[in-house]
């Protein structure tokens, strides 16, 4: 699962409250997407293009485990989000909604604003196409890639009725 796109860079410990500011949490996803991360980079929601890559520092998506934060990011049409590390609820929510996420220590050091990055979820590798610099993280677990390919957890479940028809396991 490969992605190539222009990158937007964000810092450490970005909370979901700053991905989607509290005044937008009850708005439709399209509205949230028009304001996502605006507080940290006003250009981002205005100029982000489909296929772009969001790069972030440590513990991206901390605070409340609101899936709307991942949905708002997904609503911009970005290809994937690559971070030094994620808050665990945010990471789960990425796969739940079908937004590719990759954890790559060192990614912020190799990415410059506006550079085009290449990211591969199945190998965990990220390359800066301008400088040739690369870094690697742990690839996403195989079943998480399967979840992304299906379009998220519920879409995967809908396409895999055997997951739902079985007798209680214990």
């Amino acid at each position: 699962m490969r992605f190539e796109g222009k990158c937007w860079i964000f810092g450490d410990n970005v909370p979901t409250d700053r991905l989607v500011k509290p005044q937008y949490v009850f708005e439709p996803v399209e509205v949230m997407a028009r304001h996502v991360l605006e507080d940290l980079d006003p250009d981002f929601p205005l100029n982000v293009a489909p296929g772009d890559i969001v790069v972030a520092g440590r513990h991206f998506g901390q605070s409340s485990g609101r899936a709307i934060a991942t949905k708002a990011l997904q609503g911009t049409g970005i290809g994937c989000v690559v971070a030094e590390s994620f808050a665990r609820t945010f990471y789960r929510n990425c796969f739940e909604v079908g937004l590719p996420a990759l954890e790559v220590p060192g990614v912020t050091a190799l990415a410059g604003a506006g550079d085009v990055l290449r990211a591969d979820l199945t190998t965990g590798a990220v390359t800066n196409t301008r400088t040739g610099a690369t870094a690697s993280g742990a690839p996403a677990d195989r079943f998480l890639v399967e979840m992304l390919e299906a379009g998220g957890l519920i879409a995967l479940a809908a396409g895999r009725p055997e997951l739902f028809g079985g007798a209680r396991a214990r």
Partner: protein
């Protein structure tokens, strides 16, 4: 690397129990069968997702727990409709553990009602589900769709975390409390200090504390990125379960970490050197001594949330406020964690003391912490006993939230400025 006989952490044991696997090592991903699936006010999202899936049977309705806590009572027609959807769904599906808008904060309600027991694996649609470690359960937050999937399949993927020991010894000086201990740790370790980790709390101080204070430890472990938190069940736990939650010792299986289990790290804190702490805007790990910001003007003081609105928290606040009045121009909003807390505080006179001092008591629930009432205007400052102070969480984006213990909050309500409680308590 691991074998059946290798010493194991609490997290390894809890996930092995919930998954039926053995010999699990940190980093492994398995399917676990949670004992409880908690969902709060936003349960309506889970129900709508279930409807879209076209599924009409649940794996085990007895493991479902729904609590209408985040927006209670309903603030508009939309939320009233959401509540009704949940209420009717619970009736239709035979969900016994449905707690309506009068009950209080989900975490506290579930523990008071005996749903959370040592050794269990519990998932919840709330990041502070780490709090269940106060009773020796493995609690962790998940997304709404994940709860829906668990309703249907009974299982959920989980990665085995690394573990960190947090050892706190000594007696705290007057004016410092469990909240100050946690703010100190959060300030020292940072917002991502325990990311993905299972935080096992121990030491003489932790062992000497009540279940309520253990809830404060485990709740706030989330603010260092912990996956779950844990305090080893002991006589205090047993007594709480028997006396408060109606659960006898034959109703659960205590899981204790083995001596010699592998930890990523051990954090040690000497409680006797602690001073009252405060998190200043706009991050929880931006922690300083209360004395460094004392005198800062406040517009509102909020005593509430799953971190610090249990009975003992209200009692401490009442002890500080007794015989005093809230400062002119300051709103003191008190939101008890649960209806049981409220009833007890009513019986003991704690509520009367708070009201006589000038506090406003709201119904039990998440209240202002979830942005439901108690909002701030542009430029205002609130001192809150909750667990988060990110910008805009309580009203205006141009307002400031400070976080402290109930004692610091109560002392500051009297003076109208941030105040070290030791000054008021003498």
């Amino acid at each position: 690397m691991s074998t059946l006989t290798a010493p194991r952490t609490f997290a390894q044991k809890a996930i092995e129990r919930a998954s039926g696997e053995s010999g699990l090592a940190p980093g492994q991903i398995v399917d676990a069968f949670p004992d409880v699936y908690m969902s709060h006010t936003a349960s309506w999202r889970c129900i709508r997702t279930l409807e879209r899936m076209g599924v009409s049977t649940l794996y085990d309705p007895d493991r479902v727990a729904m609590v209408m806590d985040h927006i209670s009572p309903a603030m508009n027609a939309k939320t009233a409709g959401d509540h009704r959807l949940c209420r009717e769904f619970a009736d239709r599906m035979g969900i016994k553990n449905f707690y309506d808008v009068n009950a209080g904060i989900a975490h506290i309600v579930l523990m008071e009602n005996g749903l959370i027991r040592p050794g269990q694996f519990v998932i919840g649609t709330d990041s502070h589900s780490t709090i269940y470690g106060a009773l020796g359960a493995f609690g962790t937050g998940v997304g709404f769709s994940e709860i829906t999937a668990a309703w249907v399949t009974g299982k959920l993927w989980v990665k085995v975390p690394e573990s960190v020991r947090v050892e706190i010894d000594g007696e705290l000086p007057v004016g410092s409390y469990a909240k100050d201990v946690m703010l100190k740790l959060i300030g020292d370790l940072g917002a991502d200090g325990l990311t993905y980790c299972s935080a096992e709390f121990g030491g003489s101080y932790v062992r000497s504390r009540s279940v309520s204070e253990r809830m404060t430890f485990c709740n706030l472990a989330m603010e260092m990125g912990a996956k779950n938190a844990y305090v080893a069940p002991d006589e205090t736990t047993r007594a709480y379960l028997a006396d408060e939650a109606g659960v006898g010792a034959d109703g659960y299986e205590v899981l204790l970490p083995d001596a010699g289990a592998e930890y990523r790290d051990t954090v040690v804190l000497d409680g006797s050197t602690l001073t009252p702490k405060i998190a200043v805007p706009h991050t929880v790990d931006n922690v300083v001594d209360v004395d460094e910001v004392s005198g800062t003007r406040l517009d509102q003081v909020f005593i509430g949330s799953c971190a610090n609105a249990k009975y003992d928290d209200l009692e401490i606040a009442a002890d500080v406020l007794k015989g005093h009045k809230v400062a002119h121009g300051v709103r003191l909003v008190v939101t008890p964690a649960s209806s049981a807390v409220m009833a007890k505080a009513s019986r003991t006179g704690v509520l009367a003391t708070l009201v006589e001092a000038g506090a406003m008591i709201t119904n039990a629930g998440c209240g202002a912490c979830a942005g439901n009432g108690g909002a701030m205007a542009d430029g205002e400052a609130t001192l809150s006993t909750a667990n988060r102070n990110f910008q805009g969480r309580m009203g205006s984006y141009d307002s400031r939230i400070y976080l402290s213990s109930p004692a610091t909050a109560a002392a500051s309500a009297i003076t109208g400025v941030i105040t070290n409680p030791a000054e008021v308590m003498g």
